[in-house]
């Protein structure tokens, strides 16, 4: 009798387990998937967080309007980490334990993302990084974590490769003295050392410098034929202007903050001043038709926003997440998503190349596009894909 009761009970339990809903996973119901984002939403650096997440939310809203992913709508929950490590941990804890998100699609500032990482790893939650660039987040590859943006070392490696491709022999570096440039400076020196190259000049300026004539003269005196810039637009614009002023026109290769070459040309205002300048961008140009279509979509949900490259990072990342969720199918679990992410490949229409993850490489985006001024218009002049 007892044996029969046990058999019936185990049968009922087994049946109930086999009939358990596919959404028996935190952050997933039969009609909703909750995705969290943490990043800087307020303050001077809000571009890295809020603006990127606006781009992501535009995609999620459009997916929802089209019926969702396998019938489930996506709810995108944001937490502000103010770009600070000490604010990132409580922000992520709130997402995980109060908002009970299924996964995270965010992470903007590297220091904050690094601080939040142990918490996310402990909770075993899939995390698709939008734009935090610290390589330690994805190297060595952690099963649940992938990034859809370039990591720190890639940019400078691409800059060096481009200078060499274009015939650079005497290479100089101009960097601004802040943490952003410092994080790229050593990887650049390492990349140069690997190729047996020593910079003929290594100059440092303030990010908001107003006059760089002295630096331009030093570069000229060193005989540099190529200059790699680790600068934001303010300093780069002033330097380009001052180099042109003294009649010194080396090949100049800028990083991602200088991708909008037409804006720099506009700021300098001297025709021809950027003729030998190329700026790097992970994304297509804002004028590209593939990108243009996102202007009205963005304004549909964020009426006062003006499309920027930062939005594109969020758009690409969210497209990647949506494609991965679709691939997982209706029976959504974190384990399945992590498996899919590890082999996922997608070519977002706003990026210059594909996002391609492998089980051993979770730094999934390695393509940069080069932009320059051609006949007075900004055009893509090349592409570099890093190994």
């Amino acid at each position: 009798m007892v044996r029969l009761a046990r058999a019936i009970l185990s049968g009922v339990l087994g049946a109930s387990l086999s009939l358990a809903p596919a959404w028996a996973e935190t952050g997933v119901t039969d009609h909703e998937i909750v995705i969290g984002a943490f990043g800087v939403l307020t303050g001077p650096t809000y571009d890295y967080g809020k603006v990127v997440f606006d781009g992501a939310e535009t995609i999620y809203n459009e997916v929802n309007a089209a019926g969702g992913v396998n019938g489930r709508k996506i709810r995108y929950v944001r937490e502000d980490d103010q770009c600070k490590a000490d604010a990132a941990v409580p922000a992520v804890r709130k997402l995980i334990y109060e908002d009970k998100v299924f996964m995270i699609n965010g992470g903007a500032c590297s220091n904050a993302a690094l601080a939040a990482m142990p918490e996310i790893v402990r909770a075993d939650i899939p995390w698709v990084i939008t734009d935090a660039t610290a390589p330690q987040l994805t190297d060595p590859a952690t099963p649940n974590i992938v990034t859809t943006f370039q990591v720190g070392w890639m940019e400078t490696a691409a800059q060096l490769q481009r200078a060499l491709e274009l015939g650079g022999k005497k290479i100089a570096i101009v960097r601004q003295h802040d943490a952003w440039a410092a994080s790229r400076y050593q990887p650049l020196l390492d990349a140069m050392a690997k190729r047996g190259i020593k910079a003929v000049a290594d100059e440092e300026v303030a990010p908001d410098v107003a006059d760089t004539t002295a630096v331009a003269l030093r570069l000229q005196a060193a005989g540099a034929d190529s200059v790699l810039l680790l600068l934001f637009p303010q300093a780069a614009t002033v330097l380009m202007r001052d180099m042109y002023k003294i009649g010194y026109k080396p090949l100049v290769i800028g990083g991602s903050p200088l991708g909008e070459v037409s804006e720099m040309q506009h700021a300098i205002g001297i025709p021809g001043a950027t003729d030998r300048f190329e700026g790097l961008a992970p994304t297509k140009s804002l004028d590209d038709p593939a990108v243009q279509k996102y202007r009205p979509l963005l304004n549909k949900y964020f009426p006062n926003a003006e499309l920027t490259p930062w939005h594109l990072l969020g758009i690409a990342s969210a497209q990647f997440v949506v494609a991965a969720l679709k691939q997982v199918g209706p029976d959504v679990t974190r384990a399945k998503l992590a498996t899919v992410l590890s082999t996922m490949s997608l070519s977002p229409d706003v990026y210059a190349g594909p996002i391609k993850c492998t089980p051993t490489d979770h730094q999934c985006y390695r393509t940069v596009a080069w932009y320059g001024m051609v006949d007075g218009k900004m055009k893509q002049v090349g592409v570099t894909t890093l190994p």
């Binding site: 410098v209 002295a214 002033v238 002023k245 700021a267 205002g269 006062n304």
Partner: protein, 274 residues
């Protein structure tokens, strides 16, 4: 020129205005709006921005600083720091969301020209000329006009000025306004050569402070000489020693002057005269 605005306020109120850089920034953004959004000519934009800056400066005194006049000096200084953050926030609210920086097109042919064999941008010369005119105007204002002398009187001895029938509070209000107007003018002048960001004011304030300390706190000629000297020292240090030194030159100047000659280049003369 930024240093000049600092000195004007300091002479009359005895306070360093730590929001001075942000007042300059507001001047630049106003010029941006007038020129690129309302398509107003550069000179008209300059005048409008100066007038609005003057009113803004006067309003900050009327509604904030005057109420703190009887508080400890530190309170007022902190109020200027607070105002600087407020102005940055306001500028982000009004002009944010259009990329990381804004630009103003060149006011004249931007191609470089050669002066005694030295390449300079014609724009820089125009701006230099405008700055010299404004600075000379300030010198004349303080030395030859009743309003200027009234401001000096309030600065030297507010009680005596009050007993002489000067409306001290009103004079101080317009002094804060004059300082802001000079900052606004500097902002408009620098705008075509710079990129506009809400954070652009701080480093200019530091350099202006170095120029003011070097020239002697409260000295108008000192501010002018100090400003040129700081620029020259920065360029020479950056060119002949190391580019890393260019940006820290201002801080080094402040430290050396405060240690060796706290009264600055022109401060001693003024002290003797007093």
């Amino acid at each position: 020129m930024v240093a000049l605005g600092l000195v004007v306020v300091y002479r009359s109120t005895g306070h360093i205005n730590f929001a001075h850089g942000e007042l300059l920034m507001i001047g630049s953004f106003l010029a941006y709006s007038f020129i690129t959004q309302f398509h107003i000519a550069y000179v008209a934009a300059l005048v409008l921005a100066v007038v609005l800056s003057l009113l803004l400066g006067a309003a900050t005194d009327r509604f904030v600083y005057r109420r703190l006049a009887r508080s400890h000096d530190t309170t007022l200084v902190l109020a200027t720091v607070g105002l600087s953050f407020l102005l940055k926030g306001v500028s982000r609210f009004l002009w944010g969301g259009r990329g990381e920086y804004l630009t103003i097109p060149p006011i004249i042919d931007p191609a470089p020209i050669f002066v005694f064999g030295i390449p300079v941008l014609a724009q820089q010369l125009v701006i230099l000329a405008a700055a010299i005119v404004i600075m000379l105007g300030c010198l004349v204002f303080f030395r030859a006009t009743l309003a200027g002398k009234t401001m000096q009187a309030v600065a030297e001895n507010p009680l005596a000025a009050y007993l002489a029938g000067i409306r001290v509070e009103q004079v101080r209000t317009w002094t804060w306004g004059a300082g802001a107007a000079i900052a606004g003018a500097a902002g408009v002048l620098i705008a075509p050569l710079s990129l506009l960001t809400p954070d652009m004011g701080f480093s200019l304030l530091i350099k202006a402070f170095a120029a003011t300390v070097l020239g002697g706190l409260g000295s108008v000629p000192g501010a002018i000489v100090g400003g040129f000297s700081v620029g020259l020292i920065e360029s020479l240090a950056g060119g002949y020693i190391s580019s890393s030194l260019q940006d820290v030159s201002a801080f080094i100047i402040i430290m050396i002057v405060l240690t060796v000659r706290p009264s600055g280049l022109f401060g001693a003369y003024r002290l003797r005269r007093a």
